[in-house]
């Protein structure tokens, strides 16, 4: 095998040993327990990857070895994360004598996005929309193709501008170095969360129980003729094959993040509308955009509604809420849960109770002039071209470089013009204000 790979395994093994030793040392210190990362329990007790408590612990151990703790973050070199930035963002919030701020994530983000980046901080339940759960690596407001990860610049833009119309504020007053540290930390939480899901899938698909075989290779049976099985532990420290798989799973995730800069949608110069268009030219483009908005190719009208108030199709959910909805349905339908590990059954009720009310994805009201992903023409172009990842909003441009899209770029720019005109357009059938007191009127 390749030399660098072998070394990576070595570093993983060493770090796991270190982490467990450190964890042992902390026990009984008398200090306040530092906040731990929480497991993705909807994943662990799901129908798709039911993960027994033993495996849950092993997954937590592997993640601990590869990513450290909220106080002591770590990243294996393959993750390509900047450890000094992670350290700036992690840990308790405090300032030193020189005025350097530490623990930036806990100072600015944790109350909504949670220690684990699961979007479940203490205030999360009360917000609409819910804060982003980073653990899928899916972000809505970005410049890349729908399926691709955001670039650092995309995440930075969200931090600087905030997300208008939501509880996410602007952090434009923070120094650039602090913003960079936070971007790195958000990516760290995403990568960690993505790997957690991959590990649960790997454990379910490939590990689990295996029939024991005797020296002749025949399956052993007990006195009643049932197969004798043994659990294959997730133990990448001692199992080189598993180690390789874990590093492969990580590499697949990292590849998505590292290639994101190549996946930015750059509008073709030929079709970007000129800055000096006159009123007639703009009106013509708006009219064209309106046609597309109501037509079946772009079909914006189906969700955003004929008046663009966002009152069309409102029955669908974003992928985060949809996953919760499916999980709750599966649990309702789980019946006697025969054959499910008792340790999983035991925690299912608690996980069900912890899930926030499932909310539908309400299409944006385009008459308010509030654009969550930014109000620049380019931002709106990206929303229409790439769709909005994780939501029902589909892409109208090509899904990847060189693919075929539904709309041409100039048509997308027409829709941008129409969308930007909507807050100023009089609705064709303006709703009349209802009389406040009918008796008084009569």
């Amino acid at each position: 095998m390749n030399g660098s790979v072998a070394m990576n395994h070595e570093s993983l093994r060493k770090n796991l040993t270190w982490w467990m030793a450190a964890a042992a040392l902390l026990v009984g210190c008398g200090k306040v327990e530092p906040p731990p990362f929480r497991l993705n329990m909807t994943q662990m007790v799901s129908n798709e990857t039911p993960t027994s408590p033993e495996y849950q612990q092993e997954i937590a151990d592997v993640l601990g070895a590869m990513f450290g703790t909220p106080d002591e973050p770590y990243a294996v070199p393959e993750a390509g994360l900047d450890l000094s930035r992670l350290r700036m963002a992690a840990g308790a919030a405090w300032s030193d004598e020189k005025g350097t701020n530490h623990g930036l994530y806990r100072k600015h983000c944790v109350h909504c996005h949670g220690i684990t980046g699961d979007g479940r901080g203490p205030t999360a339940r009360f917000l609409n929309p819910y804060p982003r759960d980073y653990r899928q690596g899916v972000y809505k407001f970005k410049s890349t193709y729908n399926a691709d990860r955001p670039t650092d610049d995309d995440l930075l833009r969200v931090l600087v501008n905030g997300v208008p119309g939501t509880a996410m504020p602007s952090f434009s007053l923070l120094p650039h170095s602090e913003l960079e540290a936070l971007v790195e930390y958000v990516k760290y939480l995403s990568i960690r969360g993505q790997l957690e899901v991959s590990l649960a899938a790997y454990v379910y698909d490939d590990l689990g129980e295996e029939a024991e075989v005797d020296e002749n290779g025949d399956e052993k049976v007990d006195s009643e003729g049932n197969e004798i099985t043994k659990r294959i532990p997730l133990d990448p420290v001692n199992d080189p094959e598993q180690r390789e798989v874990v590093m492969e799973l990580l590499a697949e995730i990292i590849e998505g993040w590292e290639s994101s800069a190549e996946k930015v949608v750059i509008p073709s110069e030929d079709h970007i509308p000129a800055d000096n268009r006159n009123a007639e030219e703009i009106a013509a483009s708006v009219a064209q955009g309106r046609e597309l908005f109501f037509g079946t190719r772009a079909n914006c009208v189906k969700c955003h509604g004929p008046t663009a108030l966002g009152d069309g199709q409102q029955d669908d959910q974003d992928s985060w809420n949809k996953a919760h909805k499916k999980f709750l349905q599966d649990m309702v339908n789980a019946g006697d849960q025969e054959g499910v590990h008792p340790g999983i059954v035991a925690s299912r009720a608690e996980v069900v109770a912890s899930i926030y009310t499932v909310r539908n994805a309400i299409p944006r009201n385009l008459r308010q002039g509030i654009y969550r992903g930014g109000r620049r023409r380019l931002d709106i172009f990206w929303r229409i071209y790439t769709g909005i990842a994780g939501t029902p909003m589909p892409a109208t441009g090509p899904a990847s470089p060189g693919a075929q899209g539904t709309l041409k770029e100039e048509e997308i720019w027409n829709i941008v013009d129409y969308v930007l005109s909507l807050p100023y357009e009089t609705p064709s059938r303006p709703l009349k204000a209802l009389p406040v007191n009918l008796e008084a009127v009569n």
């Binding site: 590849e255 669908d316 029902p392 892409a395």
Partner: protein, 269 residues
């Protein structure tokens, strides 16, 4: 990054790797014994009349199609349709593929938005084969939102006469769902695998997988409404908690699992 690049391999390892590849090719070329797996799914229980779907969008067009819930679909004599049966492979493991099946078909697999439902409801796709998502509902806009775990997911508008064409490079462990966000009742499942050993049960509930290398393999049994079909009697075996059964495929013969009874109560769990 962990991509294994040949320039990182030392000369010695490179020889070993090539030797291993050569050996593998040789082995598959000589494994002349192939067998067939077949069976027929029957629903054990009374499904009753199919549940009509609530059509909330494009009612004029979609409403006239008498759309029903297809999550459990039966044909004549309670034949259970749309059950997936496919070869389970551990991560990183491959299977010998019969020379006739070495290349995926150059014909695309078509998933059509037709009458405000997906046609077909279930489909099989090999890596390297083209998936063509069409919209033959004239004047009706559809989008196709595909949830994929190993391949890049997509959510795109699909218009009349301009199908979306997709090709995938990685095997998915389970059938992937396609939905339409505009018409949320629409759903289909497509299984993407890097080998040809997969099937879905047809109109009469039967399925057949041909030219499987002889020997014992694990197969997954999967149905849309319950996922993995657990503790299902398949021939002389029973599926595990993960819906898998070890089955012995005879050389130059067939393993007929006969009638496989799927309890309705198990599907509705």
């Amino acid at each position: 990054m962990m991509t294994i690049n040949s320039k990182h391999l030392t000369g010695c390892t490179r020889v070993a790797v090539f030797a291993a590849i050569a050996l593998a090719t040789f082995a598959s070329a000589t494994a002349a014994d192939w067998g067939t797996l077949k069976g027929r799914f029957v629903l054990d229980g009374d499904l009753g009349e199919p549940t009509a779907l609530t059509v909330s969008k494009d009612v004029e067009y979609c409403g006239k199609n008498n759309l029903v819930d297809e999550s459990i679909a039966v044909g004549e004599g309670n034949a259970l349709k749309n059950v997936f049966v496919y070869l389970y492979l551990k991560r990183g493991k491959s299977v010998d593929i019969h020379p006739d099946l070495a290349e995926p078909s150059s014909e695309p697999v078509v998933l059509d938005n037709h009458g405000c439902r997906f046609e077909p409801h279930v489909a099989l796709l090999r890596t390297g084969q083209t998936l063509e998502v069409r919209n033959s509902d004239k004047g009706i806009g559809h989008n196709t939102n595909f949830t994929l775990l190993k391949n890049p997911a997509f959510n795109e508008m699909v218009t009349n006469d301009s199908p979306i064409k997709k090709m995938f490079t990685k095997s998915e462990s389970y059938p992937s769902s396609a939905v339409c966000s505009i018409h949320p009742w629409m759903k289909a499942h497509v299984l993407i695998r890097d080998n040809p050993y997969m099937a879905t049960s047809g109109e009469d509930g039967s399925f057949v997988i041909e030219k499987i290398p002889a020997g014992t393999h694990e197969f997954i049994f999967w149905q849309e409404s319950s996922g993995n079909l657990k503790k299902l009697s398949v021939g002389k075996s029973k599926t595990s908690r993960k819906g898998r059964a070890k089955l012995k495929i005879p050389a130059d013969g067939e393993l007929d699992l006969g009638e496989i009874k799927v309890k309705l109560s198990d599907l509705r769990k």
